[in-house]
């Protein structure tokens, strides 16, 4: 049995009827109305509870939760810079290891969390993240993927999806918008051979929280890639973040899966997928795309989903059925 499977032997999921009441990330922050990213972060913290230390990358979630003298954090939290949350948490975790071993503290159960946006994860912070994953620190890294640099005003990142409009990938006579396909950071994390990688979405809150809980139980590094709609940047209505997040999963644009000890497991099989166009329709960042563009994107989305299914099949893990899973959401 692998490290992760061993640690998860007695795993019990959250109860849909009774969720944890703790709110380590408290209300009173300054995120935009309807922000999907803050919602995802709140779910992460609810799942982790209060025995946690958090390192934040620069970005929306840092700015909106910490303008001095107000803080939205009821747990210890540190922000250092944009690209180094993984390196900072490496230091925190190493300090706890040393101080516990030397008998100067007795706090062996603290959970270490680092989070960053897609810019702080897929681009400028990728090196520090890779270093921390490779060194095997016992921490959880969460990428809150809103598919652009939102804090600085909706610029493209390498995690911006093909065709999307941002302020540095504007559509025009000679441009479709974002010209490159979305970088797959979860795959990159998995390639490090760490015990746990998962994708999650705030629209599937129980699934997300259970994955966070698993990540905390497993020794060693864990990586979670969380889909985080941004009404401001995606140009969708402020009451639609959950809807948009759900459509992304249902249209196979953002499939949910886990990689446990290198075994790929689909969290939900999308038996009756919705067309990508339906997901696109509710956001204005894709409005300029032609039908032909969307067809092309649909083809590639289908292809990638098939590829993911193959990985799961090769791992030989039984897939969960959408119907079974639907109950818990």
């Amino acid at each position: 049995m692998g490290i992760a499977a061993e640690a998860l032997k007695d795993f019990k999921g959250f109860n849909p009827k009774k969720l944890p009441e703790v709110e380590p990330l408290s209300p009173g922050h300054r995120a935009c109305q309807g922000c999907g990213e803050i919602l995802a972060l709140r779910q992460v913290l609810k799942a982790l509870g209060e025995n946690v230390i958090v390192a934040s990358a620069t970005g929306c979630m840092e700015i909106v939760t910490s303008p001095f003298p107000q803080t939205a954090w009821r747990v210890p939290w540190i922000h250092v810079a944009f690209e180094n949350a993984a390196a900072v948490i490496s230091g925190v975790e190493s300090a706890y290891k040393a101080l516990n071993r030397k008998g100067r503290i007795n706090q062996p159960d603290v959970v270490f969390l680092a989070y960053g946006g897609d810019g702080g994860t897929a681009d400028i912070g990728l090196q520090a993240l890779s270093g921390a994953l490779e060194r095997g620190h016992n921490f959880i890294y969460v990428c809150l993927d809103n598919e652009a640099y939102m804090n600085t005003g909706i610029q493209r990142s390498s995690s911006t999806p093909y065709g999307a409009m941002t302020t540095t990938s504007p559509p025009g006579k000679k441009s479709i918008g974002q010209r490159t396909w979305k970088k797959n950071v979860a795959y990159i994390a998995a390639a490090h051979g760490i015990p746990y990688v998962a994708t999650a979405s705030p629209a599937f809150a129980l699934d997300l929280m259970n994955k966070v809980k698993k990540a905390a139980m497993i020794p060693g590094p864990a990586y979670l890639h969380i889909y985080s709609p941004c009404p401001t940047g995606w140009r969708h209505e402020t009451d639609l973040a959950i809807e948009v997040a759900r459509l992304a999963v249902q249209s196979k644009v953002f499939p949910l899966y886990e990689v446990i000890d290198g075994k790929w497991i689909l969290s939900r099989k999308i038996a009756k997928p919705k067309p990508v166009s339906e997901y696109f329709k509710v956001q204005r960042r894709f409005r300029h795309l032609t039908e032909k563009d969307i067809e092309e994107i649909q083809r590639r989305v289908d292809e990638e989903y098939e590829e993911l299914l193959r990985r799961c099949a090769m791992s030989g893990e039984p897939e969960k059925k959408e119907a079974e899973e639907a109950k818990e959401d």
């Binding site: 230390i53 922000h79 250092v80 230091g91 925190v92 190493s94 300090a95 030397k102």
Partner: protein, 391 residues
């Protein structure tokens, strides 16, 4: 009791850091610093030192790891040079602003381009406004002593600032010197166990590094400036305690044969030892020359410096880094400002010497002293010269 050993200075530096019972060491190799962290990794590997050795993937992450570890209440160490310092600079500002007592050895080396691994003070000077305390060693013994002193100062509740100990690359790092290495008990007597006042602790949650809006940023910087100024007497006090225990004395500004000197050379770092030889030689020839060595670069001991310079007729300031187009090296610029502030105006001549590992010889110092004396006598304009340039 400690012992006298013949040891490479880098190894001695690592040994003393080990004796300081550090908890977390972040390490990334760069010449000429590498031997320091290599030896620390050996100490950890052999079980002589109980610390987490974190072999990070860059200097940027080295400093980030130190910041995280120090914020969590650990005693931390890292070491770098040149390009490595430049890469970590972003986080160095944050380390001092968060008031974290990190200690770093910087094996001074020139910056690219052209790429050059040899010694000058470009990295030390680049670091001057990061809010770190900076001391400078002249020989191997001083490296050991200053590292021990660094933790004592950094962790003093009245200070809580990171400290950089500068040692010249190769001319110190790679030299084997006789060094008096203290033992564990002696170190512990001088350096009490680190007790952080605040730390990242779920039982007492705090927010570190929040956003500072315009209405608080200036005040935060002023508080930092006050902390830096307030560190000066604590640094001196820690040196006095050091002298009491170990018998070796250190001062922010140190002098050599300055009694009655009309011309004073002003140096930083290991060239000072060559400068001393030059002063001996010139004194023997009846020339009224003395030497002033700056031991403490930050906080800048302006008053102490002016005090020793004010009786001289002329000062030859020897810089080992460039400040392009200002016609004054970084050290000289500050010396002139300090003199002006205190209403003292000797004749000041600035020399840029020893860039990228170029030797600075006894003859060079003789030349600088003679030129300065000549300029003073002839009433030539005060100036600036990059010495020994091959045209």
């Amino acid at each position: 009791m400690g012992k006298r050993v013949g040891m490479e200075v880098s190894i001695a530096a690592a040994e003393v850091v080990g004796l300081c019972d550090v908890d977390v060491i972040a390490a990334y190799p760069i010449t000429p610093q590498t031997h320091i962290v290599e030896h620390l990794s050996e100490l950890v590997a052999d079980g002589h030192l109980d610390a987490e050795f974190v072999p990070v993937e860059s200097e940027h992450s080295a400093m980030s790891t130190c910041v995280g570890a120090a914020a969590a209440g650990a005693r931390t160490f890292t070491s770098t040079s040149s390009q490595g310092y430049a890469l970590m600079a972003e986080i160095c500002y944050i380390a001092s602003s968060l008031r974290l007592p990190i200690v770093m050895a910087v094996a001074n080396r020139a910056l690219s381009a052209p790429i050059n691994i040899w010694n000058d003070h470009s990295d030390m000077m680049m670091a001057r406004d990061t809010g770190w305390i900076q001391t400078v060693a002249e020989n191997g013994q001083e490296v050991v002593d200053l590292l021990l002193h660094a933790y004592r100062v950094a962790e003093d509740p009245r200070v809580l600032l990171p400290v950089m100990v500068n040692l010249d690359g190769f001319t110190l790092t790679h030299m084997i010197e006789p060094i008096w290495l203290p033992d564990k008990d002696e170190v512990q007597r001088y350096l009490p166990p680190y007790k952080p006042q605040i730390r990242l602790d779920p039982r007492n949650p705090m927010t570190f590094g929040p956003v500072g809006m315009p209405e608080v940023y200036t005040e935060a910087k002023k508080a930092q400036d006050e902390a830096m100024n307030g560190a000066l007497p604590v640094i001196v006090e820690a040196w006095q305690e050091f002298e009491k225990q170990f018998g070796r004395s250190y001062h922010p500004v140190e002098t050599y044969k300055t009694e009655g000197a009309e011309i004073l050379l002003l140096t930083v770092g290991s060239v000072s030892e060559t400068a001393m030889t030059a002063v001996d030689k010139m004194r023997a020839q009846g020339r009224n020359v003395g030497l002033v060595r700056l031991r403490l670069w930050r906080p800048f001991p302006a008053k102490e410096l002016v005090n020793v310079l004010k009786t001289a007729k002329a000062v030859a300031v020897v810089d080992r880094a460039m400040a392009f187009s200002t016609r004054s090296g970084p050290l000289c610029t500050e010396v002139k400002a300090a003199l002006y502030d205190h209403g003292v105006s000797p004749y000041v001549q600035n020399y840029i010497a020893g860039l990228g590992g170029r030797d600075v010889t006894v003859e060079d110092f003789e030349m600088m002293a003679a030129k300065t004396s000549d300029g003073l006598a002839k009433g030539l304009p005060m100036g600036y010269e990059i010495v020994n340039v091959r045209e």
